[in-house]
Symmetry: D2
Subunit: 140 residues, 4 copies
């Protein structure tokens, strides 16, 4: 499975990134590794704030960094949450931002480690994104 192998190395980078998380308020570190279409990887971490609402998640840190350096096409994303003992899915805000730049079939893998990771896609995490198409197809 080429894909699974690719995910494992990508996940390893996400896990490594999690060590750099700025999470003094939650003590819950998250790392993300975003695979660009050219094969390179951009990582991100959660960056918290004493005003909790200004906190940014690892997934979005990676997306914003990649866009800032001129990239807008992404092939996959891995999210590692080593402080949990079960898979913690990307939050809704991240699903929204992923869906701005990724097609529905873009792979997403998330978990506390690779053995327990969930393999899914942007479209599964963020359904009902393109209802105008549904409407065209007679959504009634």
């Amino acid at each position: 499975m080429e894909k699974a192998i690719e995910d494992e190395s990508l996940f390893a980078l996400a896990l490594e990134a999690a060590a750099r998380a700025y999470a003094p308020y939650s003590r819950f570190r998250v790392g993300a590794a975003l695979l660009l279409e050219d094969g390179s990887v951009v990582t991100g971490v959660n960056v918290e704030n004493r005003s909790f609402g200004l906190t940014n998640c690892a997934e979005r840190s990676a997306i914003y960094a990649a866009v800032s350096s001129g990239n807008r096409k992404f092939a996959a994303i891995a999210v590692a949450t080593p402080d949990a003992d079960y898979p913690v899915s990307p939050c809704g805000a991240c699903r929204q931002v992923l869906s701005e730049f990724m097609s529905a079939d873009t792979p997403v893998v998330f978990g506390p480690d690779y053995a327990r990771a969930v393999h899914t896609t942007v479209g599964i995490l963020y359904p009902y994104d393109a209802l105008h198409e549904l409407a065209d197809d007679d959504n009634a």
Copy 2:
């Protein structure tokens, strides 16, 4: 269908609320009507900001207003987007906030009008919310 009737009156309140939206930047008005467990309704609108990132959606305005007045149990939410000609689903940030207070089977209805509205649930809009449960059930 008791449920459908209930939704229609709820949706009408969401549509009415949309007229109060503060949307000078997008010109895209949204109204939400949140049904509390006691049968009363709290409405919300999108409130935009010249720094786009500080914009708040109608769904969250309704939730925040309801919590501010002491309510945390919600039975359903309707979202009206009269400026679209197809159903526009709640954004990921709103799905996240809904899922904080609502169970997976809580009804959500959204659309430009009731005739074209999509009937769904919080759990469908926000999947993978409770993976610790899955993990307990041997998610491997």
Copy 3:
């Protein structure tokens, strides 16, 4: 001082609202009381989320609720943080949202209690808001 008296009753409403805060993650409750131009008051509380970045502050909850009910002109805001033992100022996101709807001289009062509250204005909390005006006046 008519103003100080007015603030004291407004602050009391903010303090009362703080008891309704949804703050299970920070245990830091905040209440806000927003004085409308017609003399009525809308209150708000902080509404946290397990994804910290989706947290909303009390000040914004009050603004969003007031706008949702059709109000856009505000005379003053009081913010109570009973879980601190010193004045905690509105966060930057709230300053931004206040500045969207309030003039620079709108009074803001914040503190753990009224005796220790700081009295200031939107313009002091959010400087450099209208640099196009400065530019018109030859800002060089």
Copy 4:
């Protein structure tokens, strides 16, 4: 003025970054250049979203990228807004995030170009950040 020279080259990097902004909704591009304590520079751009509230500003993109790569000490930030014809100050959310990582005297420069840029500091943009200190000094 060593400082002014430093700012000019930093500003130039911010201006260059602005060309990479993802701003399809506002058509208002912003670039930021964050000077790390080791003398290297991390740039950021605004990354908008069709759900406006998920938009991220250039200043925060730079901070999140820098933290993600293991940096938390910053010496200065420059913000370029080439689509305005006057200086547009960092929004409140960005001021809040800057203040999490920067001391009050950290230089901030912002403008449509360097000739018209405003030179200020984090402390001036975000006053009342440390009222516990004031309280210690008899804030009455």
